[in-house]
């Protein structure tokens, strides 16, 4: 037998046995009433009354015994089933060889289901076969009806046993999943506290280092790089801990966050996840990367860049702005005329493949790409 069952297994079993207690009462009442109604069929009415009284007494006793999981032992189950078998076996003695209905009738179902609930399909099968064999053996003639009832016993036992086992397994799995989720949330909470402490120190080193100058400044810069890296990791972790998106979808915010690690690049996100199909995320990340490469090439080394992600109801808009001198009038047209579409062409191409669009605006305030992708992007 199982030793120390898991709480979830026990909870399911408890419920099954509570249901069984009700069922046992119902089938007992059924047996008592039918026997009282057909009292004339008894050849030995006194012995019959004793048998039925015994069935009632045992029903009450075993219901109490089964009410505590620790008392649902094999010996009790054996006695339960044995009494059911005996109650069938004595039927010909009480009612004569040619009897139609056994004394316990459906009452034996209670013992069968107890075996199924406690000992799974194997228990249900053993109990079903034993009861069926006893029933058939005690009759001098077997009707089609008898065979049907017996057949139901034999298949019902294992089926109920199998369902009980499945319920228990599912409860165990659910418990394990809930436990894992709680543990992950607690780990994330602890990690956040640790990370915050590290980020504090990195920021402090970065700040003080910059003021010290020289090798201090180098240290400060290193601390700054680590700070950005750690922030990226935290964001990646958050997107794992949060409710998982469908496998074909990814979080665009988490995918764009690593650009924040580039020199003089700031990634600004809306908070929360921005789930899009994986292929769309790849294309958008590629396009944003191309925009940022363009910044480095044309706006000069000193230019800073910002990537803003906005999640609108029907589309996602990504703005990439630099604070460079902007593109002089006519330069794009000239490039276009010469057939040199280069980077801007590839950015526009990527976006229109997704059913979106890329718009470029430029002025003394710098250059800005606005990439719009419909939520239901085509890939």
């Amino acid at each position: 037998m199982r030793h120390q069952p898991l709480p979830a297994v026990r909870a399911v079993e408890d419920r099954l046995f509570r249901a069984l207690a009700v069922l046992r009462l119902v089938v007992l009442l059924n047996a008592v009433l039918l026997n009282a109604y057909r009292a004339g069929n008894f050849q030995h009415p006194t012995a019959g009354a004793v048998t039925i009284t015994a069935m009632c007494a045992w029903s009450l006793l075993v219901t109490w015994i089964y009410s505590d999981a620790s008392r649902r032992t094999l010996p009790v189950l054996v006695v339960d089933l044995a009494l059911a078998v005996v109650s069938i076996a004595v039927s010909p003695l009480l009612k004569g060889e040619g009897f139609n209905a056994t004394v316990p009738g459906f009452w034996v179902m209670a013992a069968l289901l107890a075996w199924a609930a406690r000992l799974r399909w194997q228990g249900g099968l053993v109990a079903g076969v034993l009861l069926a064999a006893t029933d058939l053996a005690s009759r001098d003639h077997v009707t089609q009806n008898n065979v049907g009832n017996v057949f139901l016993l034999v298949i019902g036992g294992p089926i109920v046993g199998y369902l009980a086992a499945s319920l228990q397994d599912m409860a165990v799995e659910r418990d394990a999943a809930q436990h894992a989720a709680a543990a992950a949330a607690e780990r994330a909470r602890l990690a956040r506290a640790v990370h915050d402490g590290v980020l504090q120190v990195l920021a402090l080193v970065q700040r003080r280092g910059a003021e010290l100058g020289g090798s201090g400044a180098e240290l400060g810069q290193l601390a700054g790089e680590q700070e950005v890296a750690l922030r990226g990791l935290i964001r990646a972790q958050d997107s794992v801990v949060d409710e998982p998106t469908a496998p074909a979808e990814r979080d665009l915010a988490a995918a764009l966050a690593p650009f924040d690690g580039r020199a003089r690049t700031t990634v600004v996100l809306p908070g929360g996840q921005v789930p899009l199909p994986s292929a769309v995320v790849d294309e958008v990340v590629g396009a944003v990367g191309a925009c940022l490469d363009n910044v480095a090439r044309h706006a000069g080394e000193a230019a800073s860049a910002w990537v803003l992600v906005e999640a609108l109801p029907e589309r996602i808009v990504i703005s990439v702005r630099d604070d460079g001198p902007g593109i002089p009038d006519g330069r794009l047209d000239a490039a276009h005329a010469q057939g040199r579409l280069g980077v801007s062409g590839s950015i526009r191409g990527r976006l229109s493949d997704l059913g979106g669009e890329a718009r470029l605006s430029t002025g003394p305030w710098g250059t800005e790409w606005e990439l719009a992708v419909p939520r239901e992007a085509t890939t």
Partner: protein, 224 residues
């Protein structure tokens, strides 16, 4: 002329940080009227210290920075809260802003940026990082999302101009640059940014009130 020094309170549980910020503020001529390392200390010391600006770390031993923001501003609505956070733009920054904080700076900001931020916060300006502007924009988008279940006619909306300004802040433009690009005055740009915060804070209060009514917290008064 000798105008009185700005009174500032520093709340941070990290002693090195607290000292560094305090030193920087004193060097800049501010009057650091109080320091605290936990939410409890901050709330207890605030009334006596009467700072004009609270420089507040969000990650402090309870009550949280968000609760501290709420409590001190309820006590003295004229005070200003500047959030100084190490953990970057997260939901708790947004929560602190909804609770009434009007400035936000990441800890990796330089000393000069910190001094400037404290000064501007004290003067009633809103100090936004691009990151916070992105979060606020995102919050308004969420509020306005027609797909969400509870469609509410009272929910705040940004005007087109406010959205435009906030987007520019989120892409790293200074108020001055925005003013030039949109041909507006510096003050107008500032007002637009402030309005977005005010709407968010008001919405927060409306939601809190509604929640209180739902929970039956107003019943005692009704029983009169």
């Amino acid at each position: 002329m000798n105008e009185p020094a700005l009174r500032v309170m520093v709340v941070d549980d990290h002693p090195m940080w607290r000292d560094a910020v305090e030193r920087d503020l004193i060097d800049a001529g501010f009057d650091v009227v109080g320091v605290a390392s936990t939410g409890d200390q901050a709330i207890a010391r605030f009334p006596a210290a009467r700072p004009q600006v609270v420089v507040l770390d969000l990650q402090i031993p309870g009550p949280s920075g968000v609760e501290v923001t709420e409590t001190v501003l309820r006590h003295d609505p004229a005070a200003r809260v500047l959030i100084l956070s190490a953990s970057g733009e997260q939901d708790d920054v947004l929560a602190a802003v909804k609770a009434g904080a009007t400035g936000y700076l990441v800890k990796s900001a330089s000393k000069a940026e910190l001094i400037d931020a404290v000064r501007r916060t004290a003067a009633g300006d809103t100090v936004f990082t691009p990151g916070l502007a992105g979060l606020v924009l995102g919050e308004f988008r969420r509020i306005a999302d027609p797909r969400k279940a509870d469609d509410d006619p009272l929910e705040p909306q940004l005007t087109e101009r406010e959205t435009e300004v906030l987007k520019m802040v989120a892409t790293g433009m200074s108020y001055k640059q925005i003013a030039e690009r949109l041909v507006l005055s510096h003050r107008t740009v500032q007002n637009h940014v402030q309005n977005t915060l005010r709407k968010l804070q008001l919405h927060n209060r409306v939601e809190l009130t509604r929640w209180a009514i739902d929970q039956g917290l107003d019943r005692e008064q009704d029983a009169e």
